[in-house]
Structures are given as C-alpha cells and as structure tokens.
C-alpha cells in the first residue's frame, strides 16, 4: 500500500506586513493595511505542493479573514494550489484561537470531509500562538505533528521529523494528520506561469458563518473563551544610554569597549 491522490488542505492566514502591524484601540490587529501570506503558511503550502508532486491529489487552501484575504488565496493558487475556501463574515470579528479553530474545522468537516492531510503554518507572525493547527486537529480527531521540517512517504503512512527541545524526533504517523510546518523546512517557490494562467477568482468559494454550520454565539467575541481585557504601553525603565559618537571609528569603539568593561561603581 502506498499513498496516492490525496485530499490536501492548507490552512492559510493573511497577515499584515511586519512594518504595517498595529493594534487598534480594542487590542485587535488592524487588518486594513498592506498584507501578505503568513511566512509559516507559505512554508506549509510549499510542503503541500511538494507532496502533491509525489503522490498526486488536490490542494484546497482554507482561510478565515476579511474579503481582502482573497489576494493571498490568489497568490497561493498562482503557486499551484487548486482551489480555495475563504470563511469571511463580520460575525467572526474578535474570534480567539479557540473560535478560529472551530470555524476552520467546521468548514473542513462540512465541505472537505475526505481530507487526508492538513498542512498548517507552525504559527502566524501576527498572533504567534501556534494554537490553531493543533486545535483544528483536535476538533477533527486527526493525528498531529507540529514543528515539522521534513516529510517523507512511508508506505501508507508519513515519516515526519519535528523539532523538540535539544534535537529532533522522527515519527511514523498514519493519516488523517495535521502537520504544522516550520519555516526552516523549505524555501517557498514563487508563482508559476502555468498555475497563474489557470488561477481565477472563481476558484475561491466564500462561506458565511451560517454556511459552515455555526451560529453567531459560537464564533467571534461571543464564541471566544478568552478576550483582550486591556492593552498597556510597555514602559522601559533603564538609565539613559551612554553614546559614543565623537571621533574616529577606532576611538569610538575603543571608548565603548572601555565603558563596557568598567565596573559599576555602586549597587
């Protein structure tokens, strides 16, 4: 037995570009500015494309976000993903990781029930939680391996290597499985001409909360077990910096190093 023609899902999040990242007064991320595919999700998509090259199958990208997330889904399809689902609804605003995982897993359960493998980014660069992949896996009853940087076929199973403290562990895991991918796993490809020509916005299906079978009580702020209660400016209390900006580089570095080696007079 070997793996063939797999139904592959890639979870993808559109994130603000790092320089444009800012939180609104309510502690939520402002998503109106310049955006990109979360780098970890890009690495996940790359692993999905590599796997499909080996065994064949269909790659569906699933995302949750505002309507402008379509641009990232189009980018993913230009790299080779076959189709996309965008779960988009005002009711989803304020969803924490638990509610997000519920929405994504409900979508997969309803519209992609034969999924064999879910690729997720290890984490996003705007939330950094690493929660959603494992929580989707739990809701779907999938196996999971996180922090993955290597995937091989092993009969009807997968052989995957994950990072742990002080090293790696290699697992044989059956499918269905959720693999969360580390950016160290690969260098994601750019768009290909063939895929770009095939890409059309028609290949993006947008679903509302109702269409994925959830109610407004189950998503957004109402469905989230956690909320942001306050956002504080971080106050840094350290004595002012001593600068060495006068003289030649040799002099400045010399004085700097001398200061670094100076013993504190008191305390």
């Amino acid at each position: 037995m070997s793996l063939k023609d797999l139904n592959i899902v890639v979870l993808l999040k559109q994130v603000p570009v790092p320089k444009a990242m800012k939180t609104k007064a309510d502690g939520m991320m402002d998503r109106s500015g310049k955006s990109m595919i979360n780098p970890y999700c890009n690495a996940a998509l790359e692993e999905a494309l590599k796997l499909r090259e080996k065994v064949g199958g269909v790659i569906t990208v699933v995302s949750m976000g505002p309507p402008n997330a379509k641009q990232s889904l189009i980018e993913a399809m230009r790299k080779g993903a076959d189709k996309s689902i965008l779960v988009s609804d005002r009711l989803l605003a304020g969803s924490d990781t638990w509610a997000t995982a519920l929405a994504l897993s409900s979508t997969i359960k309803k519209y992609l029930p034969d999924t064999d493998i879910i690729f997720a980014g290890l984490q996003t660069i705007d939330g950094d939680t690493a929660h959603v992949g494992p929580q989707v896996a739990e809701h779907l009853g999938f196996q999971q391996v996180t922090y993955v940087d290597k995937i091989e076929l092993e009969g009807e199973n997968l052989k995957v290597r994950r990072f742990v403290e002080g090293g790696w562990e290699t697992f044989i895991t059956p499918i269905p499985v959720m693999l969360s991918i580390h950016t160290a796993a690969n260098t994601p490809r750019g768009p290909s001409l063939g895929a770009a020509l095939r890409t059309s916005e028609d290949n993006i299906t947008v679903y509302s909360v109702e269409q994925i079978g959830l109610t407004k009580e189950e998503v957004g702020v109402a469905g989230s077990p956690t909320i942001v209660s306050r956002v504080l400016n971080v106050v840094i209390d350290r004595p002012p910096v001593e600068l060495f900006n006068e003289g030649s580089a040799t002099e400045r570095v010399g004085k700097l190093l001398e200061a670094v080696n100076r013993k504190e007079e008191s305390s």
Binding site: E138, R238, A249
Partner: protein, 371 residues
C-alpha cells in the same frame, strides 16, 4: 486627584454584581515538562510563579503534573520547589514525547484535579500539547505569556465582576504594548508561559507534599504514532549559555551577518563564550536559522553582555533580551527603540563600527565578566 478618581472607579466597579463561575474549580495546576527522563528547567520556573500567584487565591494548593518514564523520581524536586501535590504519570512508553498520550494524560488529570488555573511551558512540546488539551477541555488558552497575575476583572457590558480572574499578559505585535488576556468564563483558565522568564524558588528540603500516582485512561489509538528516531543536541546554538551575544537585525543582510559571525569567532578565539543572535525579522528574511532568534517567539536570554546591531528594538525582541546585564546598541537610527534599553551605544552604520570591533577583539581585547 487621581486617588479620588481611582476611588470613584473602584466604587463603580464594586457596584457591578460579582459572579463566580468556577463551579468548584480551585487552586493552580502546572505541567512539569520532562524530556522523558529529566526535568526541563521551566518546570521549576512555572512552579515558582504558581506558588507566588497562589497567594492571591482562596485555595492555595499548587499541583504539579509530571509525565515521563520513571516520572516519580521528580516528585521530591517538584515538592521542594513549591508543589503541594504531584500527579505522577509514569510509563515506559513515555520516554519520547507523543501528542495524544500526553493530551489524554493531562486532560484526565485536570478533570480529576479541577484546578481554576492551568499553566504550561511554551516550549516546542508545550506549544504542541497545550492547545490540543485546551480544545479537548473546551477552555481558552493564552499563548507565550511573560507576566501573570490574579485579580478583579469587571466587564461592564456583561455586568459581571470577577474577583479572582487570571490575567495573562503577553506582548502584542509590532508595537511596545502588553496585552492582558482573560477568560474567567471557562475553567481551568489556561496559559503557556515563556521558558526563562520566571524565577524558580530556592529549593526547600523541609517542604512536604502529597504524591499521587495517576493512571490516565489511555486507549490503544493514543499510541498509534511511532517514534522511529531521536536526534539529540540537534542545535549547536546555545544562546542561553553564552556570556556574550552578538545579535543582528534584518537590514544587515547576509554580508552583515557574516561580519557578526567573524566578531563572534574573534571573541571565541580569546576563550570567551559568544554566540550569534538575531531578530525575528532577520530570521523571517531567511538570513539566519531560527535557533538564533532572540525574543518573544525565539529565546529569552540574559547574557553578561548583549550587542544589538542593526536591531530597531521591537517589543518582542526586547522581551527576549531586556534582562541582559549590559546592553550595547549599534544603530544608524538615533531614534531606534533599542537605545531606550541600551546602556552603551554608537549611532552609526554597522559597517563603520563592526570591523573596528573585530579588529580590537583580534588585537586582544577581552570582555570582563562578573563571574
């Protein structure tokens, strides 16, 4: 003035009806991470923090859950470092970490212990384990916290006042802000916390505690994944052990990082322990591997001397290095935030400064370390 205002606010807050949804859940539980055999240092750090937090609760019991092969051997250490009770889950099959057996173990233990707060380590394993446990328990989870507290939380919209809400604080991204996450509606209120952030307690061999040998109700499917290979010591990057860290930011590019590596090598040639660090942006840009990353999503370090070169000082970076003994910043931008946490600095392009640093180190300059 402000005290009057605070008093008025407190009065308004206290007028909101108190609710308590704990439904019998009480005390704090922590997960004591092992590598199968040995305790992870963070196991004792979160225990120390749990002990401090417990002073703010009615039930001050701190229970530590330890999972591994021969896990009972850790019970005494955990008690000496603050645990009142240790749940020992020991099985030869737990030598290597696998998600599902661990999730079953934690979830079953939590259902028996019924804590109001559960704290995990935000390690590579903890970040695999905690979200799945939270999903199975239908509770919220706050990730990678750097400060924790317990106190009053008033939600005017819902007309609810909680007296013992768990306040889980983490930096919010792209800015120097700290977000407080709360969720006193579901129990246990759960968080993962950064290794290296909290201080462990001094061991007290006179402390006593209860040891509970706990048997999770594992099913065969929990063990279906097979560990076929374990590679130890994968990363040779030992940021935590370095006395001197030379960190670079994204704008240095490959050429700049090569220069920093040369500086690290020169310091090492003088017999000192130095390591190359990096900002998240530099890692995301592919300039260097993620095991060099310092900050909220990287490592928390506290070396004797930390050089931040071409690093602007985003809060997630500062979180990872602000406890360094001495901080040196080199940045072309005089307004870079990094200068607010630095002790010494040069405002200039790194290209004008680093070669000179390399030269002076190669000429025999050694750093004086307080140890």
């Amino acid at each position: 003035m402000s005290t009057d205002r605070e008093k008025a606010k407190l009065e308004r807050d206290m007028a909101v009806p108190e609710v308590d949804l704990r439904d019998g859940a009480s005390g704090i539980a922590t997960w004591a991470q092992t590598d199968g055999e040995n305790l992870h240092p963070a196991a004792l750090e979160i225990l120390g923090e749990a002990r401090r937090l417990s002073e703010k609760l009615e039930d001050k019991t701190v229970t530590s859950i330890v999972i591994g092969k021969d896990a009972e051997k850790h019970a005494q250490t955990l008690i000496e470092h603050g645990a009142d009770r240790v749940y020992v889950i020991s099985d030869d099959r737990l030598l290597e970490y696998r998600t599902l057996p661990y999730v079953r173990a934690i979830v079953d233990a939590i259902r028996e212990i019924k804590p109001e707060i559960m704290i995990y380590t935000a390690s590579a394993i903890g970040r695999d384990l905690a979200p799945r446990c939270a999903a199975r328990l239908h509770v919220g989870l706050s990730a990678d916290c750097t400060q924790l507290d317990i106190g009053m939380y008033v939600n005017r919209k819902k007309g609810q006042r909680f007296m013992h809400a768990f306040k889980m604080m983490r930096p919010s991204f792209g800015e120097s802000k700290l977000a407080t996450i709360i969720g006193p509606w579901n129990y246990p209120q759960s968080s993962t916390v950064r290794p290296g952030v909290f201080a462990k307690l001094q061991p007290d061999s006179s402390r006593t505690g209860e040891v509970v040998k706990f048997e999770p109700k594992w099913v065969e499917e929990d063990w279906i994944q097979e560990v076929v290979e374990v590679q130890k010591g994968g990363s040779r990057v030992e940021l935590e052990k370095a006395d001197i860290i030379i960190s670079g930011g994204k704008d240095l590019g490959r050429e700049g990082f090569e220069m920093l590596q040369e500086l690290v090598d020169a310091i090492r040639a003088n017999g000192q322990v130095a390591e190359l660090g990096a900002s998240r942006a530099a890692v995301n840009a592919g300039l260097i591997s993620s095991d060099h990353q310092v900050g909220q999503t990287g490592k928390t370090v506290r070396p004797e001397i930390y050089f931040a070169i071409g690093i602007s000082g985003a809060v997630q970076h500062l979180m990872g290095m602000q406890n360094s003994k001495k901080v040196v910043a080199i940045n072309i931008d005089p307004n870079a935030k990094i200068f607010q946490v630095a002790d010494y600095g040069i405002v200039d392009d790194y290209k004008n400064v680093v070669p000179e640093l390399i030269k002076q180190v190669k000429n025999g300059f050694t750093f004086e370390l307080d140890k």
